[in-house]
């Protein structure tokens, strides 16, 4: 899942590899469905007069995919930093409690 949280490598060490693979597949499915829905909403006109996509709509959807995936990476980085900050905070809290309990 190296594209999940800002290109960082994650090894499925502990959990069952089948579960990891299935979850990863589900994640990519959701990503694809959400991306297709968002790009359709943003790029295609509501009139639906033609059964084919116009040229502008096609280039719009190409750019939409690119931007969506970039946004996903950036959100992943933000989430990872938040997780690290929270882990650090919990560690500090645990240390403090140990120090207090040691008296």
């Amino acid at each position: 899942m190296n594209s999940l949280f800002g290109q960082k490598e994650e090894k499925p060490a502990g959990p069952d590899p089948l579960f990891a693979a299935t979850t990863e597949m589900e994640m990519y499915t959701h990503l694809f469905n959400n991306m297709a829905a968002a790009c359709f909403e943003k790029c295609s006109s509501r009139k639906h007069k033609e059964p084919d996509l116009a040229l502008g709509e096609m280039s719009c959807s190409d750019r939409c995919v690119s931007k969506y995936l970039e946004a996903q990476e950036k959100v992943g980085v933000v989430l990872q930093k938040a997780n690290e900050a929270q882990a650090l905070q919990q560690k500090n809290l645990a240390d403090m409690q140990n120090a207090l309990g040691g008296r």
Binding site: N2, E10, A36, S44, H48, S66
Partner: protein, 96 residues
């Protein structure tokens, strides 16, 4: 897709089965979402019980365009994944 590519062989059969089930569920979900989307886009009056010809062509066009856009998005997504894998492979090769 590291988890998928590095799957040990003895669970690959089970994984393919899971994948098939997921794909089946996903296509049904997509169908329902598509109907809702096109209905919301195209149908706004309820003077009659059946769709008039404008609503019919709108719904058909909407579905056709959504499918075409989904195919295009899938193509670009696959390109993006391939490029990323190539970059990762190059980075690993350079590191050795």
């Amino acid at each position: 897709m590291d988890g998928v590519q590095n799957l040990p062989p003895h669970v690959q059969g089970q994984f393919m089965q899971n994948l098939e089930q997921m794909q089946m569920k996903d296509s049904l979900t997509m169908y329902n979402n598509l109907v809702e989307r096109c209905f919301n886009s195209c149908v706004s009056s309820f003077r009659s019980k059946s769709l008039d010809k404008y609503e019919t062509s709108c719904v058909e066009n909407c579905a056709s365009r959504y499918i075409k856009m989904t195919q295009r998005v899938g193509l670009r997504f696959a390109e993006h994944q391939a490029m990323q894998q190539k970059r990762a492979a190059d980075a690993m090769g350079a590191g050795k």
